[in-house]
């Protein structure tokens, strides 16, 4: 999904120095999480729900690298399986949000007029709900569970994709090459998909990557509250909540949270580097004004 499609300005030239390191960390981390999620049954030391009665809530040891939880299940294995849930929720919901959001933004920005007014007013209202509050409201309506968490997170991010897309479309549709295409009688559908969409894809991918990191935190927050993925399916958020009940066993909460943290860093690094690559002016500005990124 986050394929590094030949960005204008050159990914490599923009990603020199610290950028290159960041890109590698970002890509590497996400690749690792994907690998773990895909091959969890092969690489996990134990099935996620296998109970070891001899070591209940035992600290990290050579037998259980990250220890066992309050029911005697291997935490490392549960983190591997938990990656599947997190990856599924994040990818499916961000992709769905992107699909609907970009479509709405394209129509809104290109069509203009009352269609634009209606879509944007609705989006203004949805956006004024804080993301977690909106997700909770949707969960309240649909009930707790994995699928509903995906629906909730998708809906939460649709408006952001729509706004971003609409803004881009507004600036792109007044470009000369669009006018040129229009004057030669190119149908609107072709202009939208051949002239406009490819040019805004870069920013969309960047935003998708940053949204993924937020979506992961939202998903784990919902699971943490017991409103997302339901046990016994292992999920990182729920594992943290379970460990909280047994506070003398610090490892139960520590490692799943670390998994979320590392994945979020991965998405953020990826997003930041891609942004610099897709937006050469920003990269140049940032570099001329010192290291680090703006706002």
């Amino acid at each position: 999904m986050v394929a590094v499609a030949s960005p204008r300005g050159g990914l490599w030239s923009a990603a020199k120095g610290s950028g290159l390191v960041r890109l590698c960390i970002g890509l590497g981390t996400i690749a690792l999480v994907l690998f773990v999620a895909l091959f969890a049954p092969l690489i996990a030391p134990q099935p996620p729900d296998l109970i070891d009665f001899m070591s209940i809530a035992s600290p990290p040891s050579t037998e259980h690298l990250l220890g066992t939880d309050e029911a005697g299940r291997d935490i490392l294995s549960r983190i591997f399986y938990g990656a599947r849930v997190s990856v599924a929720v994040v990818f499916v919901s961000v992709f769905t949000a992107m699909l609907f959001g970009v479509s709405l933004g394209l129509v809104s920005g290109y069509r203009g007029g009352w269609v634009d007014d209606i879509i944007m007013r609705v989006i203004d209202i949805v956006i004024s709900f804080p993301t977690l509050v909106l997700a909770l409201l949707i969960i309240a309506l649909l009930g707790p569970g994995l699928q509903n968490a995906i629906v909730a997170i998708s809906i939460v991010y649709i408006p952001y994709f729509a706004r971003l897309t609409r803004g881009e479309v507004l600036s792109l549709k007044s470009r000369d090459y669009v006018s040129a295409a229009l004057s030669t009688g190119t149908p609107h559908r072709v202009i939208l998909f051949k002239e406009i969409l490819p040019n805004l894809l870069g920013n969309i991918v960047v935003y998708a990557s940053l949204a993924a990191s937020e979506a992961l935190i939202t998903e784990s927050a919902l699971s943490f509250l017991g409103l997302g993925v339901q046990p016994p399916t292992p999920s990182w958020g729920y594992m943290i909540a379970a460990g909280m009940q047994y506070s003398s066993y610090w490892w139960i909460s520590l490692f799943p949270g670390l998994a979320i943290f590392v994945t979020v860093i991965g998405f953020n690094f990826l997003g930041d580097t891609l942004r610099d690559a897709f937006d050469p002016t920003l990269a140049r500005r940032t570099r001329s004004s010192g290291s680090g990124k703006e706002g």
Partner: protein, 313 residues
């Protein structure tokens, strides 16, 4: 200024109406028969019909909404289906907890974020800049509820410095209240400190490059004076904007954080409401959150004039 305030409040009303309608419609579509929820499982069909009649549950949704809205404006948000407690009273007891937590987190974010942002900007490209920026990068990636759990593990369980959970109103025992709120505040406010720091840094970088800063330097003003008297006030507007915009996120964070520290706030109310399918409670609590966000946005806009004399309404 007054005219602007009036216009802004007038604009808030339709938004609030639409959002309250959204909340109402969403919660009335909860699965299950609300009549059963109101009078209990052991009720007869006749009792249920009477309850439906009494609470207007058979009326069309728009009619129900208008009736609900009328009562809500009069301060009657219905009663909890579970405890029979009036929702308005629940909110009165719980809102201070959530608002205090949000406010303290906001103050923390400003107190930590602004000075660090200034330091990073002054040492642009240097070690301090990279260090502070690295801290910020880490802070935004930490799942905040996990941070809360870690704080409990460290400061309550291992070091036994702070109480792990519980709540006392500030008016009853101020010191104890602050002691109990320290960890929740850090949990909610840390990520926002990082955002405030980034915004301060980039706003300061822009201001520091401007002519009046060079003039101040040329006049022989000290580095400190140029930074804090000349440059910083001019960087405040974007920083305040970020703080205002993030407050909604803070409220969302407070909801989850209340669960970590067993604080009896609006967030706990929402989560319990969802588990109990207690729709009057969810409606009332959500309405409170949404209204708070709108009011904070308004206050943010108004604060621009106070910070920047050039802003006129």
């Amino acid at each position: 200024m007054l005219g602007y305030l009036f216009r802004r409040v007038a604009q808030m009303i339709p938004v609030l109406l639409v959002m309250s309608a959204g909340i109402f419609v969403a919660t009335t579509h909860l699965p299950g028969d609300p009549a059963v929820a109101i009078i209990g499982m052991e009720s007869s069909e006749a009792d249920r019909a009477r309850a439906r009649e009494r609470y207007g549950l058979d009326d069309p949704i728009p009619v129900q909404y208008v009736a609900w809205l009328k009562r809500a404006v009069a301060g009657d948000l219905g009663r909890s289906l579970r405890t029979r407690e009036p929702v308005a009273e629940m909110l009165r007891a719980r809102a201070p907890v959530t608002l205090q937590l949000t406010f303290m987190a906001m103050v923390l974010a400003a107190l930590v974020g602004i000075p660090l942002g200034v330091i990073a900007a002054r040492h642009r490209g240097g070690f301090l800049d990279s260090f502070v920026s690295g801290l910020a990068l880490t802070a935004v990636a930490i799942p905040f509820f996990w941070l809360g759990v870690l704080l409990i593990l460290l400061f309550s369980i291992a070091l036994e410095l702070l109480p792990p959970s519980g709540y006392v109103p500030f008016t009853e025992a101020p010191l104890r209240n602050i002691q109990l709120m320290i960890m929740p505040t850090i949990t909610v406010g840390l990520a926002m400190s990082a955002l405030v720091m980034r915004q301060t840094r980039s706003a300061m970088l822009q201001v520091l490059g401007q002519d009046f800063v060079k003039t101040a330097h040329a006049k022989g003003a000290s580095e400190m004076r140029v930074t804090y008297r000349h440059a910083l006030p001019n960087a405040f507007v974007p920083v305040i904007t970020v703080i205002g915009l993030q407050t909604g996120a803070l409220l969302g964070g407070a909801i989850v954080t209340e669960r970590v520290f067993s604080l009896p706030g609006v967030g706990t109310m929402i989560v319990e409401g969802i588990f109990n399918r207690d729709f009057p409670v969810i409606q009332g609590a959500m309405l409170f959150i949404v209204a708070s966000v709108l009011i904070i946005n308004l206050l943010t806009d108004l604060s621009y004039a106070a910070i920047d004399p050039r802003v006129k309404y």
